[in-house]
Every structure is written in C-alpha cells, then in structure tokens.
C-alpha cells in the first residue's frame, strides 16, 4: 500500500486540508510537483548517478532503487506517507512572513518560494490520523528557503505544540530543513528556537508525548531546538543532521571530516538518536510508539 502513495501526481492533493479552498494555488501546487518530478520521465540519482524512471522512484518512496539513497520529500509527500488517507486537517495555512528588519530582497525571496512551492511558508502543520491515532503534526519543507525557521515557522510549530497540549494529542514534528534560523528576520528567527523549546517544556511537564523525526537535512536552529528534544528521536537512514554545517567545521578545524560524519547512523552511535527507521516503516513505528504510550494515563484515540 505504501508503495502506491507516490503517484506521478502527489497523493497529497487528495489529502483534505482545511482552508485549502481559500488558497489561490492548487495550480501552484501542481507546478511545484512538476518541478520536483518533472514531466520528463527520469531523474538522476545524486549518489550513484544512475538514471531512474520517476515512476519507479515514486514506487520506491523516493529511495534510489539502484543504490538505496534517500531523496528528500516535500512536506506534502511526507504527509502522504505518514497520514491515513484523507485524514489531515491543516491549520494556520495562511500565516505569512513579514519583513520586520526591512532586510534587502526578503519579500522577493518569499514571493519566489511561494510561487515555486505553492506553500506560504516552510512548514505545514495540522492534525492528522496515523493508523487511526490522532496526532498533532508539523512537517518542514526543505524547498522553502532551505526549510529555515523564521517567525512564521516558529509560530506555526509552537501552535502545533500547544495544540498537542490542549487536545492531549501526541506531537510529531518532521524536521528536514537545512537552513537553521532564517537570517532575513535576524534575531527574531533565532528567538523562535527559544519559543518552540519553551512550548515543548510545557508539553513535557504536562506529560505529553513528542516524537521528533529527523530527516535530511536537519541543522542549526532547527536541530538545536525542537528537533533534538523528542521524548523519542527517530531519524531516516543517511539523513544529515548536525549543529554546524560541514563546510564551517572543515574551515574551522582545517582538516577533512570523517566518513559518515553527521549522518543519522553517526548520531545513533553517539547517543543522540533513539532509532534509525526506514522510510517505509516510519508510519508504523510512530504508531506503535504512540500505542505503547497511550494505553496508560491518556485516552486511546486510535481505532486499533
């Protein structure tokens, strides 16, 4: 079944999104899907350089059938993978960035990425069902300004955390933005790290469950805030995860980085990750964790 989730057209469009109809841009969505998976029939694997038919790639959940490399997923694709059919209600879809610093060219950047991705910002949040369990979800989209955290991303993630707290739902955040805190909003971006971490403290104190899913890439302001703070930290194989970018580290220490540095497997070995989970197993593993947690204390929201 999972194999069928990725069609030539993203299954995501069939996932019900609150306020979806209010958006201009289902066309934008389609556009972007086309950019992600162009109409031409194949994609070249960055790792093994093999040419792979897009249909085959979709069937393998965007994992290279030749070498096993994981391709990045858009937030929409990720949701298709994680959420039961039609069982996702988006929240705060309309929140958009300001330019509080009057940073040169920031508005144009936002416009461009909105155009390209069909998203208003770098995260989609909402409530979805996973194997019947109701979950408060946030999924970063790495295409939108490198999935960097600005005021809107921080606000949406914080609201997703508060939603979990208020409705007593498990919280699942899929982090896969490379950019850390977004420069264009300066310190306001940085402060989203404190804001989201503070919200997680409240959830923690209330006994809420937070499963953090680290996907490629998770760095900087995102890895150094909510992404590292799961009760359970899961990661996709090969995902690059770290605080400082490899280039900065290389420059600083002036030597080459070890093989496998900053991969999910490296973090597992160094005690930062609870479990590395194959893409195809992710939904089930999350649901099983929720199941083990929810039988006691909390009410069973699931259908199984």
């Amino acid at each position: 079944m999972l194999k069928d989730l990725f069609g030539g057209k993203s299954k995501y469009v069939t996932v019900e999104r609150k306020k979806r109809s209010e958006e201009k841009g289902n066309e934008h969505k389609e556009d972007s899907d086309k950019k992600e998976m162009p109409d031409d029939l194949w994609t070249k694997c960055k790792s093994c350089k093999q040419i792979i038919f897009n249909k085959k790639l979709a069937k393998s959940l965007k994992i290279c059938p030749e070498c096993g490399s994981y391709f990045r997923l858009t937030a929409a694709e990720r949701l298709s993978l994680l959420v039961d059919d039609e069982k996702f209600e988006e929240y705060d879809a309309d929140l958009q960035a300001e330019n509080p610093l009057d940073f040169p060219d920031y508005e144009q950047k936002i416009d461009k990425y909105q155009e390209q991705t069909g998203l208003k910002e770098a995260v989609i949040t909402g409530i979805g069902e996973m194997n019947g369990w109701q979950v408060s979800l946030a999924v970063i989209d790495s295409r939108f300004l490198m999935g960097s955290m600005n005021s809107v991303v921080g606000e949406k993630v914080t609201r997703a955390i508060e939603r979990a707290l208020e409705k007593e739902l498990p919280l699942v955040i899929v982090s896969g933005g490379g950019g850390g805190a977004r420069m264009y909003e300066g310190m306001l971006s940085l402060m989203q790290m404190a804001k989201t971490s503070a919200a997680l403290k409240r959830l923690d104190q209330a006994g809420g469950l937070f499963i953090s899913v680290l996907t490629d890439p998770t760095y900087g302001g995102i890895s150094a805030s909510f992404a590292s703070l799961g009760d359970v930290n899961l990661a996709e194989p090969q995902a690059k995860i770290g605080f400082a970018g490899p280039r900065v580290i290389k420059q600083t220490i002036n030597r080459d980085l070890p093989e496998g540095f900053q991969t999910a497997e490296f973090l597992l070995e160094h005690g930062m990750i609870d479990k590395v989970v194959e893409r195809a197993d992710l939904k089930d593993v999350i649901a099983r964790i929720i199941d083990i947690h929810k039988l006691r204390g909390g009410e069973n929201n699931g259908t199984e």
């Binding site: 960035a97 909003e185 804001k195 503070a198």
Partner: protein, 333 residues
C-alpha cells in the same frame, strides 16, 4: 595598551589624545604654561568622543564588542561579587573552560553565575577556545543552574561568545542537543534568571544560556542570528560586505529593544566598558540588584508565566494574513 588594539574609528580621537599627552609633557619639561590650550583640547577630545560614540555604526559597535581588552565574565564576577567560588565540570564528560560558572554573593545575595569566558592573550584564549563552548560547557551551565533552583538562588547568565564551537567533538557530543536542552530547561527553572550580553551574542551559542526573565545588553554589544561576516558571505558571496550585513541584521542593543527581543540596555562608560572596568561593573551590578529584587517579589507561577509569554510572543507575522482570519470571523457574524 598596545597600539594594535586601537579601534580604527577612534583614530582622530586617539591622535588628539596623543597631542594632549605630548603637549602636557612639553609644558612640564619647558615649564611653559599651556593649561588653557590643553584644557581646550581636552574639551575638544571629549566632544569628539561623544560625537563618535553617539553615532556609532553597527559594525563599529561590533568592533567594541569584540575588543580584546573588554572585561570578561570573570572580570565582572570579580568586581561584582563579595565572594565567588568557581565550580567545574558537567559530571559527564569534561570541564569546558569556554563556559564557566559558580556560586557567589552580591551584597550578601547568593547567586549562581554562568557565562562564556574569553581569554585576554593567545595562550589564555586557546584554553578558553575564544569563548566558543562545547556541549559539556552548556551541560555544566545547566547542572549549575539546576543547583541554583534547588537552593533557590537567582541565576545570572553573562553572554559573550562568537558562537558555539563548530568542531568534530562538539558534533559527536551533541552540540545541538545541549543547546536545545538548555533553552527548554531554562524555561522551567523556578528561580529568577537574568541574561546579560556583555560582548558578543553569537547565535545559538549565546542563546544556549540566553533564556531568562530579563534579557539585557550592554551598550556596545551585539546579538545576532549569525555573524555579519558569515551573513555577507552566504547572501552576497562577499564577506567584505560585512558592514552592510551588520546593519541589515539589526544586531545592536538599540535595534533589539525596538524589535522586542531584549528588555533594556545597560550603559557603558564613555569609550566602552574596557575604558573603565570598575564603572562598567558598577553599572551592571546596580541593574542586576534592582531587577533581581523586582523578580523575587513574584510568585513562582507568575515568574514562569511571564517568562513563557516573553518568548512566546516574539516574532512578526504579516498583518494581512491575520486580518484574513479576522475577516472570516466577521463573515460569520
């Protein structure tokens, strides 16, 4: 003070001061009375200093914030505390000398102080890793802050770092986790926390001890999402544009008061904190005592609620989007 420590933009002032010194010497040697002239020149110099310092560009403030002679965390501690005992180690892996901490008394008030520690000369600076902490530094700080909570002591966090260290060991031991954990835990500590940026407020490395009930900056410090050099290099592939970036990033104390990121600015002596350690420490101490007294009047629940809301409300979101939501409510009505 060594010549090479001079700030470039102070050049006219420094030249004038040199002239005054020369003239004074000349007067004394030749026994000619030039008191009036010297006095006039000194007035000029003061005016010039005021002029320079009243309209400092962000990149100039950056230079002062990074000045090697600037008082360090330990300098302030020694000048502020009647007694202080440095405590070491994270009880896990190591003792980071770039992020120090301990317990002491300020006018008989017990406090826990943590802060980034820079060195003054090369050897010391290497030991202190230029104030760039490793995970064990953040974990030591957390250990000491949790102890402050146990013993009901207010916490003072002095921020002075270019950033958390980007290295292999730091990544292996979870730099990201350490910083994230600290922010999360500082949110819940049931004692007052006062954060003061005393020099460089470098990104996540600063924020790792930066969550508090009050966040202040000394007058000539900066606090930034990334260094202007890095920003320029990334955005414009040109680190020479750092001055432009310094302005664009809104990293000065004044900018950050306006943006609601910090609460207040603590004044420095004319010419910067390094010109008068004692006076700088007095100004800092006065503010700390005043604020701690205020915070200690609050019930714990109120303290924590205020702290939460302080960070919860940070950020700007486009008005139209919010209005759009409002409209839809109006449509319903």
């Amino acid at each position: 003070m060594a010549q090479n420590n001079n700030l470039e933009f102070e050049k006219p002032l420094i030249e004038l001061e040199e002239k005054i010194t020369e003239l004074t010497k000349f007067m004394e040697e030749r026994d000619i009375n030039l008191t009036d002239e010297i006095e006039r020149l000194e007035t000029r110099a003061n005016r010039l200093r005021e002029e320079i310092y009243s309209e400092l560009e962000p990149w100039q403030i950056l230079k002062i914030a990074r000045h090697v002679e600037r008082p360090t965390t330990m300098d302030y501690i020694n000048l502020i505390c009647d007694d202080f005992i440095e405590l070491h180690g994270d009880r896990n892996f190591g003792d980071d000398q770039a992020l120090i901490g301990g317990i002491g008394k300020i006018d008989n008030l017990p406090v826990t102080i943590v802060g980034h520690q820079k060195g003054k000369e090369t050897k010391d600076n290497i030991k202190r890793n230029f104030g760039m902490a490793h995970p064990e530094g953040y974990r030591k700080a957390l250990r000491l802050m949790k102890q402050a909570e146990k013993f009901n002591r207010p916490i003072i966090a002095l921020v002075n770092t270019p950033g958390a260290y980007p290295g292999i060991g730091a990544e292996e031991r979870g730099q990201a986790e350490a910083i994230a954990k600290n922010m999360m835990e500082m949110t819940g500590l049931e004692v007052p926390i006062i954060v003061v940026v005393i020099g460089e407020g470098g990104s996540g490395g600063a924020l790792g001890i930066g969550v508090g009930d009050r966040v202040f900056m000394l007058e000539y410090t900066y606090y930034s999402v990334c260094s202007p050099e890095a920003c320029a290099a990334i955005l414009w592939k040109d680190s020479d544009k750092a001055k432009v970036a310094a302005k664009a990033l809104k990293l000065t104390a004044k900018d950050l008061v306006d943006l609601g990121v910090i609460d207040d600015i603590i004044a420095e002596p004319p010419g910067g904190a390094h010109k008068d350690y004692k006076r700088s420490a007095d100004l800092l101490k006065e503010k700390l005592i005043q604020e701690i007294n205020q915070l200690e009047r609050l019930e714990t629940a109120e303290l924590l609620e205020n702290r939460y809301n302080k960070f919860r409300t940070m950020g700007y979101i486009k008005k139209e989007a919010e209005e759009q939501i409002d409209e839809s409510i109006e449509n319903c009505g």
